[in-house]
């Protein structure tokens, strides 16, 4: 996995807008698509019930079906994006759909953690900033994880918080399992102290 994410930042892209608040993981990928034992190929189920009719045809009004949004990798979403379940299928599906960044005024805890582990950057900005960005979806935004800034074409700069460890993982392709495996001596030491009764 080393280096897998390096080329993806900074992201430069116009946005897809889903202003609705509380978009939950059942909207991001409905539970009936969780019977898979793979992590690939879930993009076609992303926002499935908003995106496709029962007969499989596309809802023409849904943003991810609109031609001008094709190839965009930034999602601007209403407050509390990703609430609900712990399914990592949600960021898997969004990545597979082509997204690299989700911007919202609040992002649910488990989704945020899962997203970071899959190279999908959660960016939390103040509500008024997100609402303003939503009015100009065609602006090409620059999302830079080194400076931890989202920049707009008119020169506005919005700083966002990004955990130092998460940033290192995104930049250098460090994976958590590898990091933990390197601490096995500490883990054994903990077990020896706490479990020897």
């Amino acid at each position: 996995m080393s280096g897998a994410h390096v080329s993806e930042f900074p992201v430069r892209s116009a946005s897809v807008v889903l202003p609705q608040t509380n978009i939950d993981t059942d909207q991001i990928i409905p539970a009936r698509f969780l019977s898979t034992t793979e992590r690939k190929g879930l993009g076609r189920y992303a926002f499935n019930d908003w995106r496709w009719r029962e007969d499989g045809s596309a809802h023409p009004d849904f943003v991810f079906n609109q031609a001008h949004n094709a190839g965009r990798s930034v999602l601007l979403a209403g407050r509390n994006f990703g609430c609900g379940s712990s399914r990592e299928h949600a960021p898997w599906a969004l990545r597979d759909l082509g997204l690299r960044v989700v911007v919202s005024s609040e992002i649910a805890d488990i989704f945020r953690g899962n997203a970071l582990k899959n190279g999908l950057l959660p960016v939390v900005l103040p509500e008024h900033v997100v609402r303003d960005l939503m009015t100009r979806p065609d602006d090409v935004l620059t999302v830079d994880i080194i400076s931890r800034e989202l920049r707009t074409p008119d020169g506005s700069v919005h700083a966002f918080a990004l955990d130092a460890f998460a940033r290192t993982c995104l930049l250098e392709g460090v994976d958590e399992m590898g990091f933990l495996l390197a601490r096995r001596a500490d883990i054994r030491n903990y077990e020896d102290t706490h479990h020897a009764r």
């Binding site: 202003p19 609705q20 608040t21 509380n22 939950d24 059942d26 909207q27 409905p30 539970a31 009936r32 969780l34 019977s35 898979t36 034992t37 793979e38 992590r39 019930d49 029962e54 209403g78 407050r79 509390n80 609430c83 609900g84 379940s85 712990s86 399914r87 990592e88 609040e106 649910a108 805890d109 488990i110 953690g113 899962n114 582990k117 899959n118 955990d163 130092a164 460890f165 290192t168 958590e176 399992m177 990091f179 933990l180 495996l181 601490r183 096995r184 500490d186 883990i187 903990y190 077990e191 706490h194 009764r197």
Partner: protein
């Protein structure tokens, strides 16, 4: 932190599980005492383990059950489970193969103790006070009812725990929700947690671990506390917990796999220390008066849209709420009471335990469910099912015209073929009313077992206090 600094229950649990402390550069390495897995969120984690040539670090600390994709219909004539799809069958079989390959104890389809992961672990005595407990399932917060730090994780983290028995975590903030007073007759733990989520909001707990405290909580039995903690995630909280007390210890003493004898006595001395110290600091403090809590349901498409059964649906405050009302076909100003019901579901990790089955039986005894209503009662585990059957609850359910099913998650997540049809209105004891959660186009009202059962009898949403109105006067 000095020894004299008052600590919360969460602080004590957190501090006791730090392998290496967090720094600016890296999160804490947190030791996990108990890891629970099921068929849906574990396959890709085992694949990762295999790809790296790893074995589980402490396989005895992981316990597996199958629940999400499993059928609740009786087996076919050949004795085979009737899976909803080949994919569901393959997922269940893959869990069995993974557990066999990696030496993990599994409650499989032939086990007479299988069930929903958050029902089985407390029932067996795997869930104990003072533990850190994780599972690839957001309702892992359930186990906090025992004074454990228990939270849901993604599949990558399932892999991390298998490989190292640890997670990388930043310390969350703390919130206390103090509830005092007696609950009115007909009002239960489900009403309490729906009310609390209504108070703090569907995102009110984000970034926090909640401790539920106060006389209302202390008076609850373990099953009620599990219902309460289960839905902490529906307010966005990382976890919910209740300090363990004699109610907790009595439960554990009766479990088949909990500590026994001298081991139990030694544990008891430690467990009694597990409470927030006087004057401990919480980052947020909420107070709720138990007398304000009515039988509560949801009107919208997230669990924060909770109101009393006799309270009018509020005016939508934003486009998403309006969309939710349109989806649910409710309008501001109407009461939920009186809405015609198509389906009633009793079960899930929220309300699939013996107490819930008893509550339903009490409402259904001597009654018939209304014509046109389909009602499923799904015990949370084989043990719950047997206990309920020993009490004749299955008979009461069937005599009322409802279906008594095999254990599993069933219609809560609708992965196993148990579905609410498009447009149908379901009163459900589960935990999520998201659009399509119980099937595409399904409309879900979350409610307590008593409210759900009474809705089935009446054929419309109704106040369960009607059922026992005479009894209330006696009391």
């Amino acid at each position: 932190m000095t020894a004299s600094t008052p600590r919360t229950l969460f602080d004590k649990l957190w501090d006791a599980h730090i392998v290496t402390p967090e720094t600016e550069a890296a999160p804490a390495v947190l030791y996990i005492d108990l890891h629970l897995i099921h068929e849906v969120t574990s396959p890709q984690a085992f694949t990762e383990l295999r790809a790296r040539g790893l074995r589980p670090h402490r396989p005895e600390r992981t316990k597996a059950t199958m629940d999400h994709s499993t059928p609740t219909l009786p087996r076919d004539a050949q004795g085979n489970p009737r899976y909803a799809s080949d994919a569901a069958r393959a997922q269940v079989e893959m869990l069995a193969a993974n557990c066999a390959e990696f030496g993990i104890e599994l409650f499989d389809m032939d086990s007479d103790e299988r069930g929903i992961v958050h029902v089985v672990a407390p029932e067996q005595g795997f869930t104990l006070p003072g533990m850190t407990i994780v599972c690839g399932d957001s309702h892992t917060s359930t186990h906090g009812a025992f004074g454990a730090l228990a939270f849901g994780i993604g599949t990558s983290e399932v892999g991390n725990v298998l490989a190292t028995q640890c997670l990388l975590q930043r310390r969350p903030r703390t919130m206390s929700i103090t509830i005092d007073g007696a609950l009115a007759p007909g009002v239960g733990a489900k009403d309490v947690i729906l009310h609390a989520i209504g108070v703090i909001g569907v995102n009110g707990g984000t970034g926090h671990v909640i401790e539920y405290r106060g006389s209302t909580i202390e008076a609850m039995d373990m099953e009620q506390r599990m219902t309460l903690c289960n839905m902490s995630i529906e307010a966005g909280a990382r976890a919910g917990m209740v300090a363990p007390d004699d109610t907790t210890f009595d439960w554990i003493a009766r479990t088949p796999r909990g500590p026994k004898g001298a081991e139990f006595d030694a544990a008891l001395a430690r467990w009694r220390q597990l409470r927030s110290d006087e004057g401990a600091h919480f980052d947020a403090e909420i107070r709720i008066n138990a007398a304000d809590i009515r039988p509560t349901l949801t009107w919208g498409t997230h669990p924060g849209t909770a109101i009393g059964v006799d309270v009018p649906v509020p005016v939508a405050t934003d486009a998403a709420e309006q969309k939710g009302q349109d989806y649910m076909r409710v309008v501001a100003g109407q009461a939920l009471a009186g809405m015609p019901v198509d389906v009633v579901f009793v079960g899930s990790c929220t309300n699939g335990r013996l107490r819930d089955m008893r509550e339903v039986a009490e409402v259904l005894r001597g009654q018939r469910i209304a014509a046109g209503v389909r009602m499923l009662v799904v015990p949370g585990s084989e043990i719950v099912k047997r206990q309920a059957e020993a009490e004749g609850i299955d008979r009461i359910v069937r005599d009322a015209g409802a279906e008594w099913r095999e254990p599993g998650c069933s219609m809560c997540i609708a992965m196993n073929g148990d579905l609410v049809a498009p447009g149908q209105l379901a009163v459900s004891t589960s935990n999520r009313n998201f659009e399509g959660r119980q099937g595409p186009g399904a409309r879900t009202l979350l409610a307590s077992p008593a409210t759900a059962a009474w809705a089935a009898v009446r054929g419309v949403v109704a106040d369960p206090r009607e059922r026992f109105a005479d009894r209330r006067e006696v009391a």
